[in-house]
C-alpha cells in the first residue's frame, strides 16, 4: 500500500484574480489557511470564483494580487511546471489521454519526473489497486473502453502517482450518475483517510460537500462567505447566500442524512 506521506499546509493571503478586461475581480482578497491533511471543499454557485481560486494554487491561473504558500514556500519560488508535477490534479472532464493506455495515463507524472520503468510499473499497479481497478484487467485498456466512473478512478490514480502531499480536484465527479458519484465520494474519503493527503475539492453540489468535507469554504461573488465544518454550515449559515445554498426547508432532512458523517468532523 502507498505510504502515508502526510499532507501539505496551505496559506492564501489577500489572493485576488482579475481577468484581463474584466471590471469585477473573479476572486477578491481571499485569506485562507488549510491545515495539513485537511479535506477542504470550495462550494458555491457557478461563476463564484471557486474554481479560479483553486487554480491559483498550482498556478494554472496567476493571481493578480496576494500570495500563496505551500508548507511555507511561496508557489512562485518554483517554476510552474515543477510546482505542478508535485501537486495532484483531477479535472471534471476526466482528461485521460485517449491515445494512451490506462497504465500509461496513470504513469505520466512519474514518467515526466524521469522515474525508471520498473519503478513506474510497480507504482501504477499499486495505484490501480488503490482505486479498485484490477491492474491485470485495466492496465492495457484505452480510456474509452472504461465506464465514466472507472475513468474517474483512473484520473484519481493518475493524480496520486507521484505521491503528492496536495491534491486539487475540480468538480471531479460532475459527469457521472448519482450512484457512481456516491461510491466515488466514499472512496476518495477512504483514500484521504489512508494517505493523509491535503485535498482541495471544488463543487457546486451541496450534498457532495456535506458528504466528503472536513471543512467547507462557501464562496460567492469572488469572496469567502463562510469557512466552517459541515455541521456549522448547516446549523448556523453565515448569511442569506449560505442559507439559500444549503436550503432552509431541506436542512433538517440533510442533517439527519449526514449526521453520522458530521460526528467525524465536529469531534
Amino acid at each position: 500500500m502507498p505510504s502515508h506521506n502526510g499532507g501539505a499546509a496551505l496559506a492564501l493571503r489577500g489572493v485576488g484574480v482579475t481577468y484581463p478586461g474584466a471590471a469585477i475581480p473573479a476572486v477578491h482578497d481571499v485569506d485562507l489557511d488549510i491545515a495539513p491533511g485537511e479535506f477542504t471543499v470550495f462550494l458555491g454557485p457557478s461563476g463564484c470564483g471557486k474554481s479560479t481560486l483553486m487554480r491559483t494554487i498550482n498556478r494554472l491561473i496567476e493571481p493578480t494580487s496576494g500570495s500563496i504558500t505551500i508548507d511555507g514556500t511561496d508557489v512562485r519560488a518554483l517554476d510552474a511546471v515543477t510546482l505542478r508535477r508535485g501537486i495532484g490534479y483531477v479535472i471534471q472532464a476526466v482528461g485521460l489521454f485517449p491515445h494512451l493506455t490506462i497504465a500509461a495515463n496513470v504513469g505520466v507524472v512519474p514518467e515526466l519526473l524521469g522515474w525508471d520503468r520498473a519503478k513506474i510499473d510497480a507504482r501504477v499497479d499499486e495505484l490501480l489497486a488503490l482505486v479498485r481497478l484490477d491492474p491485470a484487467r485495466y492496465r492495457a485498456r484505452l480510456p474509452r473502453e472504461l465506464s465514466g466512473g472507472e475513468q474517474q478512478r483512473a484520473g484519481v490514480a493518475r493524480a496520486l502517482a507521484a505521491e503528492p502531499r496536495l491534491l486539487l480536484m475540480d468538480e471531479p465527479f460532475g459527469a457521472v450518475d448519482a450512484i457512481v458519484r456516491a461510491s466515488l465520494q466514499d472512496e476518495i474519503r477512504a483514500i484521504h483517510q489512508q494517505l493523509g493527503t491535503t485535498i482541495v475539492f471544488v463543487t457546486h453540489d451541496v450534498d457532495e460537500a456535506l458528504r466528503i468535507a472536513d471543512r467547507i469554504v462557501v464562496m460567492n461573488a469572488g469572496t469567502i462567505v463562510q469557512n466552517d465544518v459541515p455541521m456549522n454550515i448547516l446549523e448556523h449559515p453565515a448569511d442569506a447566500v449560505v442559507r439559500s445554498l444549503v436550503g432552509i426547508d431541506e436542512a433538517s432532512r440533510r442533517y439527519a442524512e449526514v449526521r453520522p458523517l458530521l460526528d467525524r468532523t465536529s469531534a
Binding site: R85, A93, G95, F97, P98, L112
Partner: protein, 203 residues
C-alpha cells in the same frame, strides 16, 4: 498496353524518378509545414496572413508556377521540387493546424495541470491526437503531388510525365497510355496505404 509490356525497364525508371520527386518533395514540405502548422494553430494574428499566402500559391496553375520558377532556378529537378514543396504547403499546413486545434481543451488543461512543458504537451499530447487529421492531409498532398509531378517533365525534371510528353510529341498513344496507367496506379497505391495508416492511428 503493348508499350507497358515491352519496355518495363523504362517504365520502372520513370516511376522511380516520379517517386523520388514526389516523396522527396513531400518530406521537405513536411519539415516546413510542421512548424508553420503549429504557428497557424497557435497564433490568431498570423494564421490569416500565412494561410492567405499559401492559398494564393495553391491557386496558381501548376504549369504557370513551374514556368515562373524556371526563370529563377533554371530547368531541372530542383525547380520541380521547389514547386511541389510550395504547392503542398497549403494542404499540409491547413490540416496540421486543424488537427492541433481539434484537440479537446480539457486535454490541454489536464496536461498543463500535470506539469507538461509546452513542448512536451505538443509532442506527447497534441501531435499524437492530431495525427489522424495530419495523415489525412499527407494523403491528399501526396495524391496531388503525384499528379502535379507529371507536369514537371515539361521542365526536364523527369518522371512519368516524360512518357506522356514523348507520347504527345511522337504521336505514340501507347506511351501516353503507359504513363497514365503508371501514374494512376502510383496514386491509388499511395492513397490506399495512407488511408490505412489514417485508420490505424485512429484505432
Amino acid at each position: 498496353m503493348t508499350y507497358l509490356i515491352h519496355h518495363p525497364g523504362i517504365i520502372v525508371a520513370r516511376l522511380g524518378e516520379h517517386m523520388v520527386l514526389t516523396f522527396g518533395s513531400l518530406a521537405i514540405a513536411l519539415i516546413i509545414a510542421l512548424p508553420l502548422g503549429v504557428l497557424v494553430a497557435r497564433s490568431r494574428l498570423l494564421s490569416g496572413p500565412v494561410l492567405g499566402v499559401l492559398g494564393v500559391i495553391y491557386t496558381i496553375p501548376s504549369l504557370a508556377l513551374l514556368a515562373f520558377l524556371v526563370r529563377v532556378f533554371g530547368l531541372g529537378t530542383l525547380t520541380a521540387i521547389v514547386a511541389l514543396v510550395a504547392y503542398a504547403q497549403m494542404i499540409l499546413v491547413r490540416n496540421i493546424a486543424a488537427g492541433l486545434r481539434g484537440v479537446d481543451p480539457a486535454q490541454l488543461e489536464a496536461a498543463n495541470g500535470l506539469g507538461y512543458t509546452r513542448l512536451q504537451r505538443l509532442m506527447r499530447i497534441e501531435f499524437p491526437q492530431a495525427l489522424p487529421v495530419i495523415i489525412g492531409g499527407i494523403r491528399i498532398a501526396t495524391v496531388s503531388l503525384i499528379a502535379v509531378a507529371t507536369v514537371a517533365a515539361f521542365i526536364h525534371a523527369g518522371g512519368l510525365g516524360d512518357l506522356l510528353f514523348d507520347g504527345i510529341h511522337q504521336d505514340d498513344p501507347q506511351k501516353i497510355v503507359a504513363g497514365s496507367i503508371a501514374a494512376a496506379a502510383l496514386a491509388i497505391v499511395a492513397d490506399t496505404l495512407l488511408r490505412r495508416a489514417e485508420l490505424l492511428v485512429r484505432r
